[in-house]
């Protein structure tokens, strides 16, 4: 940070020119997006490009008796029809998943989920491909289907993965059943059990976090182009982790990574859906290599919603032990995790349930134990983090719901019980019972600020009055969450993907005219990296943000990074940006000292220049220094002004927030109106308040969607019933409530600029807040839980069951 005390008034002009940290700078990305000038993967058109379409199974579980491609191959304009048999010679019919499992690229003898990839048709254009796809005749023999993870673990349940026969050890330890993937436990079971035995009060609650989908506006897709003469492969792909894709493609294809170029162009939303590698990518690449022509593959909406990376599907049982004052003594959690037919979860290798162990939340809980079982079912694979850090949404949902269940049992106010259990400020850094080291937090003032802003006591009084009135047409509910997130994966000692540590990187080159280009290992999908990274450089290296070009997503130019998901860009890559900026600044200090013929120790950094201590008139601007870097550097110094930083964070960051929702349930229809939503977030140092607010609005809106409408239900035959936007709720401005936002600032002590992540907090924090509000509306009637989504029909059923509808 800057070394001298400033006079804000005098610095204002220069600060405004810099547009550094804290400035509500307008997003640099937006002009091209709002003018339709973005370049998404489907905007890529190459000469001679072909189009591929996937043929998928209508059955959730079936043996493939035969595939007849002859009619499709004979269709004019068709170049190839690939099946597993065609990929076998290249060993491309199966591929590794991020979770240490394997997944069929094209079904190898049987299908295990509806819409599984069976064959790939490549034709002149997508219309011919679609026609030809209908000519491929596949004969199936149906097998019994299991979509319920509890039934999947019964002794006589159908075997979903024939290929794993005899393997009683998987990537995460022992498997105790043919449909079992792993059991993962953390915490001290004996101590926790003893705390439960000794406790005055215990509560238990089953809850399902239903299967949902990130549903980005842009579906997944790629354009693969193999140049047989040069032997190199270029793939444009909608990826949140282009370097990881390059490594996977290298492993699969045996092409050296130096000859593979992965380009993530503009991305129309990711939210976790675009982290993994999907069969369509592999088949498009294989087809391009075989045919020697570029091949494009773009998912339909239905394909996106029913085959590529879902989120959640966690069947959780939470238990709390407490004293009669509501002080929590222990937490016990059991989870049955439905991973679908292949384990394609995106989690750090060591943690098959991600960071679910942040489930002790913002509370000082001395004893805790968690046990998670992963299970195969005849559903599509995934288990990614939908706008959250790895499995943090599930964890926060569990603890925030359990606190309410405990409060109801004890008759304690739901705000008061939180205040009684918060980790006190003086206990940070805090070592949790499940082994995490919370870097910082200050929860009490955050909740109190929210309670004051909404006049909490008045709301509770209004609720009491309405409950006393039998003729009141509505039920009023107040929901509170005081969540802690864990983001910024992560320290390489605990986090890796495919063995690669989860560091991130930044490379900055300052040009002779003082402008600069910065390249990152991350990739923006709406987070505004081009805007915010430039602001960090502006403050830390004194170069105006307006002359900084930020580039991401091209593996041939960007330094290796693990990508953007789990709110890791600011905590990890943002730190790399700050540290690379510091390296630039330190070199600039030496050049400035050389130009002014003083010792570098006598120079002090001042916004956009170096000046001589005690003689502020003698100064060199960063612009002058940049010019000198290319013609007049101190003896022995390399020319140029550039820096690279690979940042391996020492810890995660722990943003937190206090949210409050007020809902009115209409007794006549079961409809729920969100009357008020107040969101206070603490993400440490705030780089761009306007982008933060935009991200919070987006996250709250997606949280609203999950709580009130999104789900991918299955029927017994394994049909996905939510696979279209007729059924899958995507809120627009019409349905979305009004959001009120607020903040406190508790900087991360270990991050170079004190920043945490923010874009996922509103999703993680709002969903249990909505549920808590809806359930609170029914709390006086003895209801402790109702499942999501809280749609009108389900709420209506609840009203009927309680005999209060109408």
């Amino acid at each position: 940070m800057n070394e001298i005390a400033r006079d804000p008034a005098a610095d204002l002009g220069r600060l405004e020119r810099l547009e550094g940290i804290g400035c509500a700078r307008k997003r640099r990305e937006d002009p091209r997006f709002i003018q339709g000038r973005g370049t998404y993967v489907d905007d890529i058109h190459l000469p001679g490009m072909l189009f591929g379409i996937m043929i998928r199974s209508p059955y959730a579980h079936a043996r493939i008796k035969s595939i007849d491609t002859s009619r499709a191959k004979a269709h004019p304009g068709v170049h190839a029809v690939l099946t597993a048999e065609d990929l076998k010679p290249f060993k491309l019919h199966w591929m590794p998943t991020l979770a240490g499992d394997v997944q069929a690229v094209l079904a190898d003898g049987k299908v295990s989920f509806q819409n599984q990839e069976v064959a790939f048709v490549v034709a002149e254009d997508r219309y011919i491909a679609a026609d030809a796809a209908e000519m491929v005749e596949v004969e199936y023999e149906e097998l019994p289907v299991v979509v319920d993870p509890f039934k999947a673990m019964l002794p006589d349940a159908p075997v979903i993965r024939d290929d794993l026969a005899g393997k009683d050890v998987g990537a995460h330890g022992a498997r105790r059943h043919h449909n079992h993937i792993f059991n993962w436990q953390i915490g001290d079971r004996d101590r926790t059990d003893r705390a439960f035995d000794a406790a005055a009060v215990t509560v238990s609650q089953d809850m399902l976090y239903p299967r949902v989908h990130p549903c980005p506006l842009e579906t997944c897709g790629c354009v693969a182009s193999y140049d047989a003469v040069r032997g190199d492969l270029t793939v444009w792909i909608t990826s949140q982790a282009p370097h990881v894709v390059r490594t996977v493609v290298g492993l699969l294809s045996s092409i050296p990574e130096s000859k593979i170029r992965i380009i993530s162009p503009d991305i129309g939303g990711g939210f976790g859906n675009k982290v993994g590698v999907y069969p369509g990518y592999v088949t498009a690449i294989a087809a391009s290599i075989v045919l020697g022509r570029p091949v494009k593959w773009i998912e339909s909406r239905n394909e996106n919603l029913t085959t590529t990376a879902f989120a959640r599907d966690y069947w959780m049982t939470g238990e709390l032990a407490a004293d009669t004052d509501g002080r929590i003594k222990a937490l016990r959690v059991k989870v049955l995790a439905d991973h679908g037919a292949f384990d394609a979860c995106a989690d750090p290798t060591k943690w098959p349930a991600g960071m679910f162990h942040v489930c002790t939340g913002s509370y000082d809980i001395a004893n805790a134990h968690v046990s998670v079982d992963g299970v195969y079912t005849n559903k599509f694979p995934g288990g990614v983090s939908y706008r959250c850090s790895f499995r943090v949404t599930e964890a926060v949902y569990l603890i925030e719901r359990m606190i309410d269940v405990l409060a109801q049992k004890l008759g304690i106010d739901k705000a008061e019980i939180r205040l009684r259990n918060f980790i006190p400020k003086d206990k940070f850094p805090y070592h949790s019972a499940l082994g995490l080291d919370y870097d910082s937090g200050d929860y009490t003032p955050a909740l109190q600020k929210v309670m004051k802003a909404v006049d909490y006591d008045a709301l509770r009084a209004e609720q009491a009055a309405k409950r006393a009135d039998p003729d009141c047409p509505t039920l009023m509910g107040i929901g509170i969450t005081t969540f802690t997130e864990i983001v910024g994966a992560g320290p390489s000692k605990s986090c890796d993907i495919l063995g690669i540590g989860m560091f991130d990187s930044c490379e900055i080159r300052v040009h002779p005219d003082g402008s600069a280009i910065a390249r990152m290992g991350t990739i923006s999908q709406g987070q505004g990296h081009q805007t915010t990274y430039a602001q960090i450089i502006a403050t830390e290296a004194g170069i105006p943000a307006s002359v900084i070009q930020v580039e991401e997503g091209d593996t041939s130019t960007a330094p290796y990074g693990l990508g953007t998901y789990g709110s890791r860009s600011t905590p990890v890559a943002g730190a790399a940006v700050a540290r690379a900026s510091h390296k630039i600044r330190e070199k600039a200090r030496k050049i400035a000292a050389h130009l002014l013929e003083v010792s570098p120790d006598d120079m002090e950094f001042d916004l956009d220049q170096f000046r001589v201590k005690g003689d502020p008139a003698r100064a060199k601007s960063m612009k002058e220094i940049a010019w000198a870097a290319y013609n007049n550097v101190p003896e022995g110094m390399e020319m140029g002004l550039e820096a690279v930083d690979y940042y391996d964070p020492p810890n995660f960051t722990f943003p937190f927030g206090a949210y409050l929702a007020v809902v009115d349930v209409l007794k006549a229809t079961g409809e729920i109106k969100v009357r008020r939503f107040y969101a206070l977030d603490d993400c440490g140092t705030r780089i761009n308040p306007m982008i933060i607010e935009g991200q919070i609005h987006g996250g709250l809106t997606e949280g609203f969607a999950v709580a009130f409408g999104q789900e991918l239900p299955y029927d017994e035959q394994g049909n996905v019933l939510g696979g279209t936007l007729m059924d899958y709720f995507l809120p627009t401005a019409v349905e979305t409530p009004h959001w009120e936002t607020d903040f406190t600032v508790t900087p991360s002590p270990h991050h170079p600029i004190g920043a945490k992540g923010v874009a996922e907090s509103p999703h993680v924090g709002s969903i249990p807040c909505f549920s808590n509000a809806v359930i609170d509306a029914f709390a006086h009637l003895g209801v402790t839980h109702t499942g999501m989504p809280h749609n009108a029909y389900r709420t209506w059923q609840q009203l009927l069951a309680l005999n209060i509808a109408g």
């Binding site: 005749e137 035959q717 279209t724």
Partner: protein, 206 residues
């Protein structure tokens, strides 16, 4: 998704004649709008096609029909059908138990069937499945009754031929073509009528 259809139809036919009619798979199939037998493999195995309009989409299934059990004494049939649509995006199966019983006025044909659909039809057509199958079934029964009448008219020719075995039937006049080809507009109207009627019923119930 799976729907169970349990219906019965009174026929002015002797039980033996009704049983004979039921055993004429091709003839019975012809009564189902949009369905036909395309190949008779042997006495108990057939290939056939069915075209159904579900909302804006027409789905054509082709598949195999097997008479899994035929009990002439009890006059009961167990038919299993499996098929998939021509585009390979949907699958369907049928498990039908049909029985002919004697009644005062003649006979009663009862059928209980489980129809299971998978794939696109289930995804896009689930809401319409019940209404569409009801309408189809009504048409089917109307056609079947018409066929029974025709058989009744031809009775003297065949009455004595009734045996324990399946008898060969004289060529009964085919049901009018207009009835076997499901009129899209009529079907849509029937479905909408059914939907509105349901709405009305629900409103009254509350």
């Amino acid at each position: 998704m799976k729907i169970t259809i349990d219906k019965s139809l009174d026929l002015a036919l002797s039980p033996d004649l009704a049983w004979a009619m039921l055993n004429d798979i091709e003839g019975v199939t012809a009564c189902l709008p949009g369905a036909k037998i395309t190949e008779t493999i042997d006495e108990t195995h057939f290939k056939g096609t069915v075209s159904v309009k579900l909302g804006p989409a027409t789905v054509s299934f082709k598949g195999n029909i097997e008479i899994a059990e035929r009990d002439a004494k009890a006059r009961s049939l167990h038919i299993i059908g499996t098929g998939s649509d021509m585009g390979g995006t949907s699958g369907a199966s049928l498990d039908l138990h049909a029985v002919v019983e004697a009644t005062d006025g003649g006979s009663r044909l009862s059928g209980k069937s489980d129809v299971t659909v998978t794939g696109k039809v289930a995804t896009f057509g689930a809401r319409l499945m019940n209404s569409v199958s009801d309408v189809l079934l009504q048409k089917f029964f109307a056609n079947l009754a018409m066929r029974a009448e025709a058989l009744q008219a031809a009775q003297p020719l065949v009455a004595t031929a009734a045996t324990e075995n399946v008898m060969s039937l004289p060529a009964a006049p085919a049901a009018p073509a207009a009835e076997t080809n499901l009129n899209a507009l009529a079907l849509a109207w029937a479905v909408i009528k059914d939907f509105l009627a349901n709405l009305f019923r629900r409103t009254k119930a509350t």
